[in-house]
Amino acid sequence: MPDEIEVIVPDKEEVLDIELEEDLLEANRKIAEENKQLLEKYRIRAIDVMGSVGSGKTTLIERLIGLLKDRYRIAVFGGDVTTTIDAERLRKAGAKTLQINTGKECHLDANLVRKALGKIDLNDIDVLFIENVGNLICPAEFPLGTDSRVVVISVTEGPYTPLKHPYIFMEADVAVINKIDLAEAMDVDVNELEAKIKKVSPDVVVVRTSCKTGEGIEKVAKVLGLL
């Protein structure tokens, strides 16, 4: 009998730990930065319009087009899950429109906007509104590369929206409280609502509007530097 020979078997599996410091949200931010540079090159003022479903984002943009169309060449990117209803409305109002259907995504991201920017003649535009998907959560996390971000809420959503969704107000430059003509019927105190917005996001500029009557629309254009 030969002596038992000890065999050294290589480890069955070799394990390697790689340290990464890769921010997954950074990819979007980088593309957003590229979008911003592209828009600056063509001197286009871009505004990201966010807000919940039914808060009045499309009507606000419609009103702003009505107010500004003699002064600027306006385009709108409409972000929606499926339909082109909003894009049709805004085309009638006097803007060039491009629909971005996300299919299933709940927000627009910088890459979708980059693709859309490649489909229009940037020499032909002074002001670009980007209507985000109706949602108060996800769009906040995905900057698109616009100069300003606007969040639209309405009194019909009740008095707690700013406290329930503080992040979107934190990301926004302008907060629009819409449908103030309905405040009394809804038993919502607009002063209180504004105070709540200021509590979660002290720097945001708050404008009260009624897109139905047109009240406050000029002020929105002014705070965006368009008037």
Binding site: D17, I18, L20, D23, L24, K104, L163, K199, P202
Partner: protein, 123 residues
């Protein structure tokens, strides 16, 4: 549902790393997710399980660490956790971006990212 797009991005990055090193499979992925990000760990796990199927990440372990929010005040120099608006009647706890000491707006220093810290590969 933006957890899905973020996790898809995560899987693409890890597959790339694994390929670079000729790995047989991915054993573990460790993520740091900021408290102020909009990512829900539960939904991220679900997305990870679904999206890792038929990839080199299938059956790997996902570790999610939560990174606390940290803010800094440019006026008084406060550096620490933000205050929260705790009101039992709202059933929520919203962070306040005002300095707990002097009341001026603060800057968010930490807690907004979603960072791949470490990937463990079997070679």
């Amino acid at each position: 549902m933006h957890e899905f797009s973020v996790v898809l991005n995560l899987i693409e990055k890890v597959v790339e790393e694994a390929k670079k090193r000729d790995a047989k499979r991915v054993i573990e992925v460790e993520l740091d997710v900021g408290q102020l990000s909009f990512l829900n760990p539960e939904q991220m796990r679900f997305a990870y399980n679904v999206l890792s199927k038929d990839t080199i990440l299938e059956n790997s372990n996902l570790i999610i660490n939560t990174v606390d929010a940290r803010v800094r005040c440019g006026v008084c120099g406060f550096d620490g956790k933000p205050d929260y608006a705790d009101d039992a009647s709202y059933h929520i706890s919203a962070p306040l971006f005002l300095c707990p000491i002097c009341g001026n707006p603060v800057e968010v220093i930490e807690g907004k990212g979603c960072i791949i810290k470490r990937v463990r590969l079997e070679l």
